[in-house]
Every structure is written in C-alpha cells, then in structure tokens.
Amino acid sequence: MRNIRERAWECVWVYGLSLSVPLAMLSPVLRCEPVDGFPLTTYPMYSGAMGTTSRVHTILGITASGEQELLTPALIAGDPAVILAVRTTAAARSPERGLALCNTVAERIAADPDLRDRYVELLFLTERYNAPAYFLGAADPEAIKVHSRCPVPR
C-alpha cells in the first residue's frame, strides 16, 4: 500500500512539474492579448514587420561655438546600457517630461568637471531617418522635431 502511495505521489510530482513548467512558459501567448513579462515572455524582440522609417529620440550637446555633439547613454539615462537610454528618451516626449529629462541630463553634465565647460545647452529631439539608407550614405535626417532645450547650469 505504501509502495503504491509513493509511486502515485512520485507520478504526481514528476508530471505536475513537467506539465506546469511548459504551460507556464506558454501562458503569455495563450492569453487573448499576449503579454510580455519576466520571466514569462512572448519573446517579441525584432519580430514586427518593421518599415524603413526610423524615429530616433536623442539628446545633443550644443557647444559654445554652436556645434551639435552626441552625448552618451550614461549621461542620458544614468547607466551605460544603451537600451535604458532608448527607453528613457522614448518615455520623455511630452513637453513636461522632456524638459525634466533635459534638465536632469544638464545636471549630470554640470557635475562632470570634464564636460561642464564643453556644453552650453542641450537639445532633446526626435530625428526621422530611412534606416537602411543611412548605412548606404544618406546620413542626414529626413525630419527633426525639437521637444525641449535647456541650458547647462554654471
């Protein structure tokens, strides 16, 4: 009797775990609206039918002589991971958030002794490109929309 009970329990454990793990992994796509999450995911990265038009949100530093220079992900998002800079700029396109982000980045620059005298102003903007064409030589943006600009504190 004990042997049967042990075997039954073992069977429940083996197949309970063996079925619940893959079912849990499949659960994000079994919903009416698939939901990406962690650690259960739909693995949606780069799966969309994307066109050639690419909108890039970035912050540029303006030097005293008026030149525009690229900053770094660490200055923009406070972390060297570029994807966080992508998310940070994408989430800050409203006028209030845009200005707040601009000022935050300006404060980071002002706190950096190597950079604080380099830039006088920052520009938060969205540039529109034909992305594949960019790598074939068409490096100028098709359109530019400025969200906000802010001075670098002295």
Binding site: R7, V21, V29, F38, P39, G78, A81, V82, I83
Partner: protein
Amino acid sequence: MRAGEKSPQNALGDLGALSPLRSVDAWWRAPAPARRLAWVRVAVGLYTTLLLFGHVPALLRRSGFDPSRFAPVGLLTPLGAPPDPLALILITAFTLLGGLAFTLGWRYRHSAPLYAFTLLALTSYLNSWGHLSHALNLAVIQVLVLSLVPAADALSLDRRAGRTREGKGARYGWPLRLLMLTVVVSYSLAGIAKLSNGGWAWAKGDAIRNNVAHDALRKLRLGASISPFTAPILRQPWIFSLFAAGTLAVELGAAIAMRPGKLRRAWILGAWAMHLGILATMGISFWYPLTGVAFASFVPMERLFDRFLPKAWRR
C-alpha cells in the same frame, strides 16, 4: 544509466489499456546518470552566479535611479516603489552566496529553492526599469527547475558529506528532459512571435534588415558604438533573407532537439550559430546560449568532463 540497471518501473505500469501513455512515460522517465544532471547544475549555477556578480554594478546604479522610472515586473509586480538600497545590497550578497551553495551542492534541498527565489527577485529588479531584457529568462527558469529536482545527488558537498546518495537513473532522466523542453519552448515562442507579429513576410528578410538598421541607428545617435560588422552587412541586403530563413528554421524547428542524434546536434549548432550571427550583426550578446550553458541538458556532460576530475571529486 549504470551497468545492470533496468529501465524504470513504469509509473503507469498497471494500466495496460493505456499503452501509449506508458510509452510516453517510459521515454520521459528514461534513466540518466546522476552526474549528468549534476553537471548541468554546476554549469547553470556557475553561469548565473558569475552573471549576477557581473551585474552588481548595474544593480547598485539602479538604486540611484529616479523612483518614477520603476515599473515592476515578475516577482516585484506587487511593489509600488523600488526596494530600499540596503535591502537590495543584502539580497544581492545573499543571492551570491546562494549561487555558490547551488553550484557546490551544499544543503541543496533548502539552499537551491532559496537561490532560485532570490535570483528571480533580483533579475525582476534588473528588468523593472522600463526595459525587459530577454537574455535572462531561460537561465532563471532553468535555475527554478533545477532547484526542485535532485540535481545535487552527485558532484556535490551534500554527496561528500553523506547527506544524499545517488538513486536510480529514473530520478535524473526526466529533469534533464524538462530542462530540454524549456529550451525548446523558449525558441518556439520566439519563432511564433515572428510569425504572429510579422507574418510569413518576416522570412523575406526585409523586416530583420530594417530592425537591425533601426537598432544600429538609434545606438549611434545615442552615442553608443555598434558592431564593426553591422554597417558592412547592412550594405548586403540579400544576406538578410538567409538570416531570416535560418532564424525561423532554428526557432520553429526547435522541437527536433528533443530527439537524440544528429538532428539534435545540428539544431544546437544552428542555434549557437544564430546567436553568433546576432552578436556579429547587432552586437547583442545572448551569453547563455553562446557559452553553451543553455544547451547543457542536451549533452552527456559527464562523458566530456569526468575525465578531467580526480576520482575523489566524482561524487
């Protein structure tokens, strides 16, 4: 399977009318050596512990982020605000020690589930700042599975201390198959996402070319660098048809890896080559498959590594 060991007694052995189920049961619970599962534990434990160690600076930097950026996922979903920095440091230190205990197989029945839980909490925290990284999911799921199965019956401090012993091979076969299944489900989901979001047109290559170009462009315009191969490859559009077809073949064909033999080896090689291609074209490193650890459950690791271990350590 050890010499002289028979196939496991079928869990459904008394149900003669259910012979297809008995066949499935016999396949799923086919015996495997305890050391094979133990090697997977060592590989996954070492990988995740080193990965976590490498992520300590990123974890600490996040504690200085503006709390309004906190968008909790996973285990942290119920939280309304980021955890206290001191709590984060303590959990990180505890998880690193847990990773060591997991890898060495010390007090495994208790330390492994604790490690899996805290690893899930920390990786949830890493992903709770507006971006979901898909490089950690499979590793975390495999740690969760390993923490619930007898993966420290060999090659462990528990075994050396006599706290555990090797059982019959049937105890170790199904966890390995379950780990393989997690890999298969992960890749299949990625393939399904491409078909449901991009349709079969995704296979033509235009979508992936545009995605690669967009990803590289935004990196450049945010002041980051890109792979030295990205620009030259983007100037050869025909390559992306091959990439797309190969990616879909690997992802949608992942189920063939459940069957041992040449097709499994070919699939593992194909999946590894796909990640190498992603690294070359996009500079995105999926280290779990690139190091081979993601595929450890498919490989008879004990045959590969036992020869390098002194006999006294093969326990």
